[in-house]
Point group: C2
Amino acid sequence: MAAAVTNFDVHDIARCAKTFGLGGFYIITPLKSQIRLVESLIRHWVEGTGSVYNPTRKESLSLVRVSKTIEEAGQEISDLWQKKVKKVSTGASRYPKCISFRDLRELLEDRSTPFFLLFGTGWGLTEEVKEGSDYVLAPIEGRGYNHLSVRSAVAIILDRLLGDRF
Amino acid sequence: MAAAVTNFDVHDIARCAKTFGLGGFYIITPLKSQIRLVESLIRHWVEGTGSVYNPTRKESLSLVRVSKTIEEAGQEISDLWQKKVKKVSTGASRYPKCISFRDLRELLEDRSTPFFLLFGTGWGLTEEVKEGSDYVLAPIEGRGYNHLSVRSAVAIILDRLLGDRF
């Protein structure tokens, strides 16, 4: 199943990616119409009139890439780094052998290895994607309610992994 | 100035509020048209067909209230608690005498005092609102970029103040 990409997902997540110093942010969708939509959104803000109207959007949306599959995007990252990417799945439910936020935060300090954090919209990532990952991150535990939007989940997870500790 | 309320703001923030166990979430807007819009959105998901279609939205949107001013909302909270509410402003820039996340997290452990966290959309909270608050929270420090959406800022701030520490 392919969930629709929303403008809000692209903008909010790109701004988070920029805030926490990520190298890039891939939108993965097999749908040609969605790919064209995202590409035109990026063009508008990065090269078009939007880049003059709001330069901070240009900065964040410059990080956005589009890809048809996780494999294709992962390969691009591995090629860029000349090192195999480590894939990390995320999700709202517990998974056997999750990695904790603390442990992943430590792993990310190794700046010579590329990490690829995967977030699902709609019904989340498939079992197949989770099983094909190097790590599955522990869920954000709420007070008996775990239905955050993907935008909120990305914000919290990036802050826990890369934000200032206090 | 009054910024427009977006559906995404209401849904995303209500789901965060529910996740972190908040008592309520006020949308503050002086515009009658916006008030009616939010009220009809809440009715749809809490009482209308939406409540059957997606019960998790009912749970989160049950927390949403609408008010014309911060003062009016603050008074309602104080009346409910029979104790004067403490107002906490938030924002993207440093303010003299900010309270740190750590210190505010400790204050929130006092469950007998109501706290009212204020978030601004559009251009953020006015100086007047900040000066009229009991506390101004330190900003989220990014890597030289601080243009998060209000939705992402709420998610990160609630997690830092009320989420599990690890």
